[in-house]
């Protein structure tokens, strides 16, 4: 087998001490950056980019690959421990991960998250190694209508997660979609909803919104709950996980991995969308959906597996076509171009060693991640013993730095702080903030795909339904929406006429907090 011989060469390259040291340091850096609230792995990769120019290309790519793999996981550490997603992709990990921590099961939650992530990442890296060319041609079949359908599926998933409060989730999501339209439009470059503020022409970035909504409210609560000393976060070790425990969530991990691998190939969607869709599918599929949000292991394992499963497949379009689908892969493209490497089909023949070393590095990174992540998670658990006031102060500083670092723009800091205040009140009134963040992420994509599709197909709306792949995805979305809404709609239909408290969701006080955040 040609591929195996190449891969053996790749492993030799990746395990070369010099490369290996950079791979491991990238991995550690990624996990730490991901875990710090406010600082995302995209920040870390952008920051590391200038350093990679000084390294040989193979080492540079191992280093960035390490940050990518580690960073996509790292965000979950703060999601699970303090309910603040370290990166947008770790948003769904808050929903069942943090409740586990509150039950005193933090290390169990971390172990499950790490194993699921590593499994997803490994499967995805294997797919990258053995399936890159066919997967690449599959990705090329996707045109704008297909991307549009995929984003619709993502949006539908958001509503599907919130079974008990579909109205609030829908409102939150539409607010997010609306926020996503601020700035210049994708076709004419015309500023919209800027209300005369020039800074708004660049739009409102989703990372900034997420940092604001999640970090600031949580930190304010940190010093205000239980009048007096503030609350210290419980990090009881909890029961350790054995292999048998992991075996129980195997189908969740597998479902998450499958979804993540597929979604990773779609440009623009990436880890966050993968994790959200995986969570909502899992909620329907695993049979314990009604208890999701209370610390279900399935609800943690599936999105964890999915988000890391996007890492390997996201590199397929990058390496085979030279097309980056996400901010992280765009940075990798920059690193390759600066080194004079042109990703594309030629890369596989002209730089076989490099390509297979990248593959091998991705495989190794996902294996090593288990060790690295455990180590960092332990350090972070210890950090949680720091008095909440001190912890909170630095989380806010990091959030501000992180919001600033997205585009090196002070205006983003103001946006972040404004959303911090909004988020605080949303939290107090049980208004779900997560659909809003997903809306801000998917809104601009959705609009762009929609308008470009129409421009490309003579303004014909039917194109979304008549193209086989996009039609199928849209049909699936509709079925999915109906399926997940059924439990909420059913009682309304069967409401006995003289029982006022039964079917009306508003009469049930207070609404259950579904999207724990």
């Amino acid at each position: 087998m040609d591929i195996l011989a190449n891969l053996a060469g790749g492993f030799a390259g990746a395990l070369d001490p010099y490369n290996f040291v950079f791979l491991v340091s990238g991995l550690m850096l990624g996990v730490v950056a991901g875990a710090l609230p406010g600082i995302s792995f995209v920040n870390a990769m952008a920051i590391a980019l200038p350093f990679t120019y000084l390294l040989p290309p193979v080492t540079a790519m191992s280093f960035l690959g390490g940050i990518y793999v580690g960073g996509v996981f790292g965000g979950s550490i703060s999601s699970i421990l303090i309910n603040i997603p370290g990166t947008p992709a770790s948003l769904p990990s808050c929903w069942d991960g943090y409740p586990m921590t509150r039950k005193g099961l933090s290390s169990r939650a971390l172990s499950i998250a790490i194993t699921a992530s590593a499994f997803g990442g490994l499967a995805s890296a294997l797919l990258l190694t053995f399936g890159a060319p066919p997967f690449a041609s599959f990705a090329l079949k996707f045109d704008q209508p297909e991307f549009f359908a995929a984003t619709i599926l993502g949006l539908v998933s958001v509503i599907a997660i919130a079974k008990d409060a579909p109205l609030m989730s829908a409102l939150s999501m539409f607010l997010g979609l609306l926020i996503g339209t601020v700035g210049v439009d994708p076709m004419y470059g015309m500023p919209r909803l800027t209300l005369g503020v020039p800074d708004l022409e660049s739009g409102i970035n989703f990372t900034v919104v997420m940092i604001g909504l999640f970090a600031i409210g949580e930190v304010v609560d940190l010093i205000c709950k239980r009048a007096g000393g503030g609350r210290s976060i419980t990090t009881k070790p909890g029961k350790q996980v054995g292999l048998s425990d992991l075996w129980r969530v195997k189908s969740s991990i597998l479902r998450g991995t499958g979804l993540g691998c597929t979604i990773g190939v779609i440009p623009g969607a990436g880890a966050t969308v993968g994790a959200v869709i995986a969570y909502s599918v899992e909620k329907q599929a695993c049979g314990k959906g009604d208890r999701f949000g209370t610390g279900m292991e399935e609800g943690l394992a599936a999105p964890e597996a999915a988000k890391n499963a996007t890492t390997g497949t996201a590199m397929i379009p990058l390496l085979t076509l030279g097309i980056p689908g996400s901010a992280a892969t765009a940075i990798m493209l920059a690193a390759m171009l600066i080194h004079g490497l042109n990703p594309g089909p030629l890369l596989f023949t002209s730089n076989t060693t490099l390509v297979y070393t990248i593959f091998a590095s991705m495989l190794i990174a996902n294996l090593l991640m288990i060790v690295a992540a455990m180590g960092v998670a332990r350090v972070f658990s210890t950090l949680m013993r720091v008095p909440p006031a001190i912890l909170g102060a630095f989380i806010i500083v990091l959030s501000v730095v992180g919001a600033y670092g997205v585009r090196n723009n002070l205006f983003d800091v103001y946006v972040c702080l404004a959303f911090g205040i909004v988020g605080y009140f949303m939290k107090r009134t049980n208004f779900p903030p997560a659909p809003l963040v997903v809306g801000v992420i998917l809104g601009p994509l959705c609009e762009r795909y929609f308008l470009t599709s129409l421009a490309n197909y003579e303004g014909n709306m039917a194109v979304f339904f008549t193209r086989p792949i996009s039609g199928t995805i849209l049909a699936l979305s509709a079925i999915f929406l109906a399926w997940s809404m059924w439990p909420a709609v059913k009682p309304l239909l069967r409401r006995p006429p003289n029982d006022p408290t039964h079917g009306d969701p508003a009469a049930k006080e207070p609404p259950r907090r579904v999207l724990k955040a």
């Binding site: 209300l195 940190l222 010093i223 009048a227 909170g392 500083v397 009306d504 508003a506 009469a507 006080e509």
Partner: protein, 178 residues
């Protein structure tokens, strides 16, 4: 609080959302004549208008639901969230105010000074009262932040205006960052 006034208060948010979306739909683009001249039926304003409509519709349903609930206001109770028992509301407001002040102070005082002041004040309202702890946390924390983000990550964080700019540059020189 009477159930009625409570119910009215609950109406305020959706009503504000509805009014806001109606108002914004008139101000999507600076100059609507530019849109009118485009033959494109959707154009730059189409998608935002759709989203505003969706937000407005959701708000309308919300209002409807609240009105229904208001009719049955007899058994309406103020929701009690056990999570917020003994919650220091005043302190939360001070905290939020401080966060905003920090943001506003950043361009004026520069990152190092504003951050040091913010960390110290935040720890103070959070109940850390020992001067030594305060000084150490602020001092070491800020120096570490500066080394990581200004020296290593080379982020162009604000240096402040006027005398603070000079101070920040001098501080960076002292720390060996510049």
């Amino acid at each position: 609080m009477t159930p009625l006034s409570h119910g009215l208060r609950r109406l305020a948010t959706p009503a504000a959302l509805l009014a806001g979306s109606l108002l914004l739909s008139q101000h999507i683009v600076r100059d609507s004549t530019m849109i009118a001249s485009l033959p494109d039926p959707i154009g730059p304003a189409g998608w935002p208008r759709l989203m505003l409509g969706a937000v407005g519709l959701c708000a309308l349903i919300w209002i409807g639901r609240e009105l229904l609930a208001l009719r049955r206001a007899v058994d309406q109770q103020k929701p009690i969230d056990e999570e917020y028992e003994g919650y220091a509301h005043g302190r939360a407001m001070i905290g939020l105010g401080l966060v905003v002040l920090y943001g506003l102070a950043l361009p004026q005082l520069g990152f190092p000074v504003a951050t040091a002041a913010f960390v110290a004040l935040w720890c103070l309202i959070g109940g850390i009262r020992r001067p030594l702890t305060l000084a150490l946390v602020t001092g070491i924390g800020c120096v570490v932040l500066l080394y990581v983000f200004v020296l290593l990550a080379q982020m162009p964080l604000n240096r402040g205006q006027g005398v603070f700019d000079g101070f920040t540059v001098a501080l960076y020189r002292l720390l060996g960052i510049y």
